[in-house]
């Protein structure tokens, strides 16, 4: 496993930049194990955003004045920086800022899907898609008459690649797959999936919401046509997400939303569009958030994504071992290893996941319970809800102890 090669994180030093973690809930120190939902934001990112508001705030693109120029340059450069972080050599021509991963999915599903899909076309998804991708493609397929197929998940929580080879055919127009499952923790073989789709001349959309925060990602090495992720899961702010798209593909798509700041020429009768990414970013964009995301990318690169990944794997393994020792506890997803990310979903016999999360909260342990926006996957697993503990750079292996204590307390109460 990669964590044997890289230098471990200094969690204590990292935590010093997250004052939010230094608090108690009813007298017990907070243990935050819900980073897969939203990761905490370190001081350098918060500072970059408050400096922006204190020193450079103005609207972008339109102003000739000093502040507007500063804001415009910062906003535009953030695109290039984030593109570089995920290996997109086209810079801003290949990186659009959206609100979040969900909007990135919607952008392509509307701008490309509504135009290109029709009866006889197939959209191939996986059974472990997040609703962000599943609901979006399902609804666009319904509107266009296209069919949706789902690549099945095996008993051990991996994609059934034999089934993938059957699902992806010459009728496949789009393959949309999650890179890292937010429920099973599975790291999917996206290179192989993308190659398979390309062999059949299909386009590919990879949902990297859980991948970009936790491991090195190179969109060109993966070969994906489109790739999406969210700022708030990668030490950045809420309100900003990203859509990577190959330059030629984005260039020939029409906009998804309309308005100001995106146009070349407007008359009462017609309009023409500006360049990528601006033609996909109408209206006043999330400028401070772009500055924050730029800082988050700097922050993560400073730590080193290999080290982040190794840290996640170490925590996943420790959590997996500690939880699987508890009687009556079922863990979903693959065993620890390079294809399992730093999150663990589980159920406890006789205790509903929401009761478990409430009791964890009584122990000041923040976990998530529910369907994690993968309802159909939960139906496949045969459970209404699971509990999920997820980790990030600021979590230490010691924080798994209070989680285990809380689970044992729940078991004693309900036993």
């Amino acid at each position: 496993m990669s964590h044997q090669r890289v230098e471990p994180l200094d969690v204590e030093a990292i935590r010093a930049e997250y004052p939010i973690l230094d608090q108690s809930v009813d007298g017990t120190p907070l243990v935050y194990l819900d980073s897969a939902a939203t990761a905490q934001t370190p001081d350098p990112v918060v500072d970059a955003m408050s400096d922006y508001y204190r020193e450079s705030n103005a609207n972008v693109h339109r102003g000739i004045h000093h502040l507007s120029q500063q804001a415009s340059v910062a906003y535009e450069e953030a695109h290039d920086r984030v593109a570089e972080f995920v290996g997109a050599s086209g810079g801003r021509k290949e990186l659009v800022f959206t609100k979040n991963t969900t909007e990135s999915e919607n952008l392509i599903a509307h701008a490309w899907g509504l135009r290109e899909l029709g009866p006889g076309d197939e959209v191939v998804l996986t059974q472990m898609e997040h609703h962000a991708s599943l609901v979006t493609w399902q609804q666009i397929a319904m509107r266009t008459g296209a069919d949706v197929k789902y690549i099945e998940v095996t008993e051990d929580g991996r994609l059934d690649m034999d089934h993938a080879r059957k699902c992806i055919t010459d009728d496949t127009a789009m393959l949309s797959a999650v890179h890292v499952s937010n429920t099973l923790g599975t790291v999917n073989p996206v290179n192989e999936l993308v190659d398979l789709a390309h062999e059949h001349d299909a386009l590919t959309f990879i949902d990297g919401a859980q991948a970009v925060p936790t491991r090195p990602v190179d969109v060109e090495e993966i070969g994906a046509d489109f790739y999406a992720f969210s700022g708030h899961k990668m030490a950045g702010p809420t309100g900003i997400g990203c859509l990577y798209g190959k330059e030629d593909l984005l260039a020939e798509l029409d906009p998804y939303l309309y308005g100001g700041g995106m146009i070349r020429k407007v008359t009462y009768d017609d309009s023409s569009w500006g360049e990528v990414p601006w033609k996909f970013e109408p209206g006043t964009p999330p400028i401070a958030e772009a500055v924050g995301l730029h800082a988050a990318v700097d922050y993560l690169e400073e730590i080193g994504m290999e080290r982040v990944q190794a840290h996640e794997e170490r925590l996943a393994e420790a959590a997996y071992d500690a939880l699987s020792a508890i009687d009556g506890l079922t863990i979903y997803g693959p065993e620890p290893g390079p294809d399992r990310a730093g999150l663990v979903s589980f159920t406890l016999a006789n205790v509903h996941a929401h009761d478990l999360a409430s009791i964890c909260n009584d122990h000041a342990v923040a976990i998530r319970a529910g369907d994690h926006c993968t309802q159909p996957l939960h139906d496949t697993l045969g459970v209404a809800a699971t509990a999920r503990a997820s980790f990030y750079v600021y979590n230490s292996v010691d924080e798994i102890d209070p989680l285990v204590e809380a689970i044992e307390d729940a078991q004693a109460l309900f036993g």
């Binding site: 809930v25 009813d26 509903h352 009761d355 909260n361 009584d362 204590e405």
Partner: protein
Amino acid sequence: MGTGSDMYRQQILDHYKNPRNYGELEDPTFSHVGENPMCGDEIRMDVVLDETDDGATIEQVAFSGDGCAISQASASMLTSTLQGKTVDELLSMERDDVTDMLGVDISPMRIKCAVLAEKVAQDGAEIYRGDADGEKTTIED
């Protein structure tokens, strides 16, 4: 160790583990189903009414379904208190009556679990009276 919300008092756990009036009734005057999509909680309420000129009194009530401890205990306790009440009394019950009955502070995120059974019983009664349509109850905000 912080005891936090204190939601899981003995009484709630007792009703969860040994639910009262659990099951379905042979010949209910009305029955109604509701769910809390966030948790996957589902509850069915069966009610037998004794109808006189003075109005309808709840003679027998049972619930079935599954879900978290809060929703199930709340349903169990509710069935115990409803026996002998009039339909008007059921319909005038409020959220606070449920939390009072449970006897603990319910955290804001769990309040929907707590009030599901009451809502199902009330919606069932309104549909029976013809004051509402026969859709399944869904607890939203």
